[in-house]
Structures are given as C-alpha cells and as structure tokens.
Amino acid sequence: MKFFKSNNLFGVAIAVLALVAPFIHAADISLLNVSYDPTREFYKEYNQAFAKHWKELKGDNVTVRQSHGGSGSQARSVIDGLDADVVTLALAYDVDAIAQKAKAIDPNWQKRLAHNSAPYTSTIVFLVRKGNPKGIKDWDDLVKSDVKVITPNPKTSGGARWNHLAAWGYGLEKYGSEEKAREFVTKIYANVPVLDSGARGSTNTFVQRGLGDVLLAWENEAFLSINELGRDKFEIVVPSVSILAEPSVSVVDKNVEKKGTKEVATAYLEYLYSKEGQRIAAKNYYRPTDPEIAKETESTFPKLKLFTIDAVFNGWGEAQKKHFADGGEFDKIFASIKR
C-alpha cells in the first residue's frame, strides 16, 4: 500500500514537471564576437561574466564564440559575410568600413553607446629593454640617430596607425606645424629597421629577435608582454603625451536582425560599461571609462596627457584618407626617406 502511494506521488511529480517544463526550460543563445588579436584573454573572461549575468537576468544560456585576427582582416570577414553579432575592433575606421561597404551596421553606430562606443580605452606607450640603455623618455628620443624603433606597418596594422598618429600628434603639438610634424615622423620612420605586418609580429621582432631599442605598443599589449616575458627584461616608458586609443564596439545590425539576437547582443555590449565589465577590462590592462573603476585602478595606469583622434585629426575617416591611403602621408614619408 505504501509502495502504491509513493508511486502515485512520483506520478504527480512527473505530471507537474511536464506542465511547467516549457516555462523553466532556458533558451540557448549563441553569439559571435568578432574581435582583434590582443583581446582574446579579456573576452574569454568577460564572456563568462556576461553569461552568468544574463542567466540571472533572463534565465537563458548564452555562449559567446570569439574570433580573433588582425582588426582590418576581421572587418573584411564581416563585410564578406561572417555572421558576427557584435564586432569589437581596434579602431572605428574598421567598423565604419563594415557600415559603408556591407551596409551591415547603422552609419550612426558610434553614437549608440557612451564614449564614442569605446567602453574601454588604451594608449600608445614605449616598451624598452631593462635599464632603458638608450635613456628613452619621450617621443623626441625616438629621432636620435642611434635609436632603432620597432613599429608595424600602418598600412596593414590598425595598431600601427595609432602609433603613427600618436607620433604625429606629438610633433604637431611640440613643433606647431604640419610640416614640422611630418619632418618629425619621417625621422622616426628613418630609424625603423623592420615593418612587420601586425602588432604581434613587431612584438616578436623586438622581444624574440632582439631587434631595436624601443617598441611602440598599445599599453595593454606592453603590460602583457612584460607579464609574459618577465619584468627583468623589459620596462614600460610612458611618454608625456600620447593618443587616446579607442577600440570600438558595435552590434552588427544586419546579422542580429536576421538571427533575432538583437536584444542579447546589445546587452552584451552595454554590460561592458557595467562595474563588472569595467573591472575585467582594467584587469586585462585596458583603461576603464567608468570614473569609479578608473579611480580604483589608477595605480596601474600612469597619468599622461591624452589627445583624441577627433580633436587632432577630425576623426578616423579623415585621418585614414590623409595619412594611410595610397599616396597619403605614410607613402610620402617613405618615398622621401633616403635608401
């Protein structure tokens, strides 16, 4: 009799479960984040945090797949049809390219999120060998004839474009005219023995091949290099002035509309601005934009004067055309360097 009773209870439980199952069953959502090279570890950590956040908020399981590569070539993949839900690239120009060439992103994307759709920022600093044997303190030291500078090719590397513009901006401010700035940047390039096609290649050349006295690098990359290779080999030199590097993020409208992932993809990017998202960014050596988290982590990030690309170069569109398009400043500089 007792057996019968418990069996009955079991049956009731099954029936109840069967009734509510459709409501408690969580949806499985998959997002694709197309990003650039050095964000791999950062987004690995962030994706877990976001998945947990979304599960608590909506009860759905989100898995975010990551794709990494050179920023420009990642943008090209999206233009050519890679079904990214969000792009988190090294520069606004690459997101603009997706907006223009593939019409996959609203042209006003940069206004949709705070801080020009750049939830975290970085800047360009110098990585030098331990003890700083050439005594490099600021941009002026890069034009000395005995200093070899390692930077990638701005034509192929997004990071190198920030380097170029940082140097140019410094030249403009210090020497006061376009001609003087050009002269200054030309002298720096005359000290460059190798132009790798990407930032990772340059780091490799500087660190593994032992070439050059100073590597122009993103601040977060410089931190990572030091962590990986040892504080006893390299140190970071922060110049007096540098550029505010704003890695851009955007939802890829065409794809999220097709896949029905607009809500979660938007939330994914917005959560980058949350305290937790900002903390993870700072932990991975990106400068947080949230003032509170910035205060918390200010001992990590040295203070320096930062200028924006909008203020000095009138945005990426113009900077790209003037400096990096065929026949632009970069080409002119290399045509003028004596070989």
Binding site: G70, G72, S73, A75, R76, I79, A97, K101, N153, K155, T156, S157, V192, P193, V194, L195, D196, S197, G201, N204, T205, Q208, R209, G210, L211, Q320, F324, A325, D326, D331, F334, A335, R339
Partner: protein, 276 residues
C-alpha cells in the same frame, strides 16, 4: 604527331571522366580566377595603369620577380645535387634526408618564416656567425631569397629525382667506354635527358616563390621600395578595403606567372622533341 581528341584507354568512361575533370577544374580554378579578372574590369585602363605603375608597386614587382628567379636558380642547382645524391647513392640515414626534403611542403610557411628569422637574425645561430663578416640575411632582401629557396627546394628535387632513378646507367657507361670525359658525359648524355624535369622543377619553384607570403613577411623587413613583396602589396591594399586595387595587382601577377609557365612549357616541349 597526329592530334587526337580521344585516345583509347584501359579505363572506361571517357565522357564521364572528362566531364568531371572540366567541372572540377572550372569550379576550383577558373571561377575564382575569372572572378579576379572580372573584378579588375571595374577599373578603367588609366586607373589600372595608375595602380600598377605606382613606384612602390613597381619596386615590389622587381623584388618579387627578381628574388623568385634567384631562388629558383639556386634551387635548380642544389636541388639537382640533392636529387642526384638521393637517387644514386645509398648512405646511412638516407630515408631521413629523403623525408626532410618534403618538410617545406608540409610546414606552415609562417612557421618556416619565423624559424628562419630566428636563425638568421643577428642574435640567431647562423646570424651570429655571419654578423661579424658584415653579412645580413634576416630583415633584408637576402632574407627574402633565403625563404624562397627554402619553400621551393622540394619542387626541383621531387621532379628530378624519379627521372634520375629511371635513367639507365648503361648510357653513362657507354659514353665512358666510347672515350667521353665525365664532363662530356654529363653535358651531352645526362643533362639533356634531365632537362625537361629540371625545367618543370624550376618553373614550379619559381611560380611557388612568386605567390609566397607567409614565410617572407617574417624574415623580410617589409620596407616600402626596399623589401616589400607583391603579395604584401596586395594584402596592404585589402587592409585599406581597396579590393579593386588588390585584384589589379593580383591580375598582373597571374598573367605574368601564366606567361612564364607557358614559356617554360614550350621550351620543355621543344627540348623533349629534340631529345627524342
């Protein structure tokens, strides 16, 4: 020789296999290449000329064709020696050497480039020895040639080796017994019969070198006007989302390679007919 469309064969189904072959080649080769040409037609002749005649692009053409040619010649010479040694002699570890020859085929070229740069850089094993002599390999044009020699070697060895293996020793013995010196035997008897295979190996090595990208960007300094190869120019244009410019350069490369391969094939046919 009478031109024949259909030769009797032991394998049946000529219609089916020819149809398959044509479809396969069209899908894999003709359509992508046709797309390349079609894309280029978006440019007017003057725009096309402006892209191609840009001094920086011209400098890269010069480097790519020059370095590929030098590398192919080096491979022709040393590849022949390696093939000869492998085909004619037995020695300890021959199987290993034989397998090593294929390594450049299998190795991702970027890995090869990084390895070569590591060895030939000033701080590297070989670079360290060459540096005091004033010889710079890594991060120079010489580095480009070294990388191209590396990736091109198997082509010469693998096309020449089977021919040497099949070549009958009796010919050499006959030549020697008729009073020919070793030089005469080599130039008059051996070399002519190896010529078609050598040319094929040379052409393959050359064509492969022209398209090589991965290994070179790591060992070359990639400086505009100095050590930039054509594939890098194409990648550069793509990074600027300049698809049309990139395809224009690609088209010139394609046509040039096609003409070179065609020429070498013609020489080959000519030398084969002469030797028969």
């Amino acid at each position: 020789m009478k031109w024949q469309f259909r030769k009797p064969s032991v394998l049946p189904g000529f219609g089916l296999t020819l149809g398959f072959s044509l479809t396969y080649v069209t899908l894999l080769v003709l359509i992508p290449l046709g797309g390349l040409l079609l894309y280029t037609t978006k440019l007017s002749w003057s725009e096309f000329g402006a892209v191609i005649l840009d001094p920086r692009v011209l400098a890269s053409f010069k480097l790519s064709f020059g370095a590929s040619l030098i590398a192919a010649v080096i491979n022709l010479f040393f590849g022949l020696i390696v093939a000869w040694t492998l085909a004619r002699y037995n020695f300890f570890g021959k199987k290993i050497v034989d397998a090593l020859v294929d390594l450049p085929f299998a190795l991702p070229t970027a890995v090869a480039g990084i390895a070569l740069a590591a060895i030939f850089a000033q701080s590297g094993w070989i670079g360290r020895l060459l540096d005091p002599l004033g010889i710079v390999i890594a991060y120079s044009r010489a580095g480009v040639v070294v990388a191209l020699v590396f990736i091109g070697l198997p082509f010469v060895v693998r096309t020449v080796q089977p021919v040497i293996e099949e070549f009958e020793k009796e010919f050499e013995e006959a030549a020697t017994s008729l009073g020919a010196s070793w030089l005469q035997t080599f130039t008059k008897v051996i070399l002519p019969s190896l010529m078609p295979a050598l040319l094929t190996g040379f052409a393959l090595s050359f064509a492969r070198a022209l398209g090589e990208y991965g290994s070179i960007i790591f060992i070359s300094s990639n400086m505009p006007f100095v050590s930039e190869i054509v594939p890098l120019i194409i990648v550069t244009k793509l990074s600027q989302f300049d698809y049309v410019g990139a395809t224009a350069v690609g088209t010139v490369m394609l046509l040039a390679t096609f003409v070179i391969l065609l020429l070498i094939n013609l020489i080959q046919i000519y030398s084969r007919e002469k030797s028969l």
